[in-house]
């Protein structure tokens, strides 16, 4: 999860804190131009491939959602 936080903070120097329930998309902490890189980062962290035509934006909306959908699944497997 630290790598995910670093990715977002690096691109948003004005964000002094990053709450787990901040809406990353509506707040534009992750914008369209960064989204593709973000998906590649998640794929690399989880070893799971994400189909760009099938993805559900709600899985990416908050750190909590990302943790539940991508990172915990890996820990449990």
């Amino acid at each position: 999860m630290q790598a995910v936080r670093d990715f977002i903070l690096e691109r948003n120097p004005k964000l002094d804190r990053l709450d787990d329930d901040l809406d990353l998309i509506d707040s534009r902490a992750i914008n369209s131009l960064a989204f593709v890189e973000f998906i590649f980062l998640l794929e690399e962290l989880t070893g799971e491939s994400i189909d760009p035509e099938e993805l559900d934006l709600d899985d990416f909306r908050t750190l909590n959602a990302i943790g539940a959908r991508f990172l915990k699944q890996k820990a449990a497997s």
């Binding site: 534009r28 992750i30 369209s32 131009l33 989204f35 890189e37 690399e44 760009p52 993805l55």
Partner: protein, 292 residues
């Protein structure tokens, strides 16, 4: 789209319209499509692949190198197709707005030609590669909401221009690369020929809209410069598609992508790809030197 806040676009386009009319061709009969691409020939210039100039290229077997040129050609043409779909939908929505009345004639040529380009790029990918790569996902909450309507309008045409200039860097080189199969050379050549008019138009409309942004609020120009710099980097990133590495049989596609993007030889290649565009943006007064 709030085009009423934009002043009418007045451009001198007679020469470009005349060239579009006199150079008109039928793309559906122009090309002689072979049944297959000759084996062992690269599908795109080796020096234009995303691993060129790095040890990662040298570590590949010859089969992997040829496969990489194949799948990166499909990725390059797929990016063209998705880029054309985006720009056509934007231009179609504007073509009979009052703001664009004076340039509507050229926009008709533009859309017609882009539709034809999309057709021949897809023909190449589907005939010889059996597929296109899917478009990258986009977000509804976009990256331009902080900009004024006129600056957002500028961004629409800036994206089209930047996309076309990057593509043209590749087309211009491959149009005369004798190591490529004839059909690949031809597609790049024909596209390069049409795009020179589109780039000329793109620069004119960009300059007009940038003037409108600066007149309304000069302080917004650095914000536009920041967006454009991010867009240039994003565009370069899309050339590095891990799916193409996987299809070429290269392991650890994502780690490879990261290593390639960071490699100094690739940074130098990115500068070459973007050189013409960056120099235009700097001369226009909206280059990366404005980005804090």
């Amino acid at each position: 789209m709030a085009v009423r806040e934009i002043e009418p676009i007045e451009l001198e386009l007679d020469r470009l319209e005349h060239m579009a009319e006199s150079g008109y061709y039928n793309p559906y009969t122009l090309f002689d499509w072979p049944d297959a691409i000759e084996p062992d020939m690269p599908w795109m210039s080796e020096s234009l692949t995303t691993l060129a100039g790095t040890p990662m290229w040298d570590e590949l077997t010859r089969e992997q190198q040829i496969a990489l040129t194949k799948y990166e050609a499909i990725n390059f043409f797929s990016l063209n197709i998705h880029g054309i779909r985006e720009l056509m939908s934007e231009v179609v929505m504007r073509i009979h707005e009052r703001t664009y009345a004076n340039v509507s004639e050229f926009l008709h040529h533009f859309i017609g030609e882009e539709n034809e380009h999309m057709w021949f790029f897809a023909q190449f990918c589907l005939r010889y590669g059996g597929k296109l790569y899917p478009a990258q996902p986009t977000l509804q909450a976009d990256s331009v909401e902080h900009l004024s309507p006129v600056a957002r309008e500028l961004v629409v045409f800036a994206r089209i221009l930047i996309f076309e200039e990057i593509v043209d860097h590749y087309n211009a080189y491959m149009a005369t690369d004798e190591s490529l199969p004839h059909i690949a050379r031809e597609i790049n050549r024909v596209h390069h020929q049409d795009e020179s008019r589109h780039v000329a138009f793109g620069r004119m409309i960009f300059t007009n809209l940038l003037g409108q942004v600066a007149k309304r609020d000069p302080d917004e120009v650095p914000l536009v410069a920041e967006y454009l710099e991010n867009y240039l980097r994003y565009s370069i990133g899309t050339l590095y598609n891990p799916a193409a590495y996987r299809d070429a049989g290269i392991p650890d596609a994502l780690a490879l992508r990261r290593r390639a993007l960071e490699h100094p030889a690739r940074h130098a290649a990115h500068e070459r790809i973007l050189k013409r565009t960056r120099s235009f943006l700097t001369k226009a007064g909206v280059g990366r030197e404005l980005v804090k």
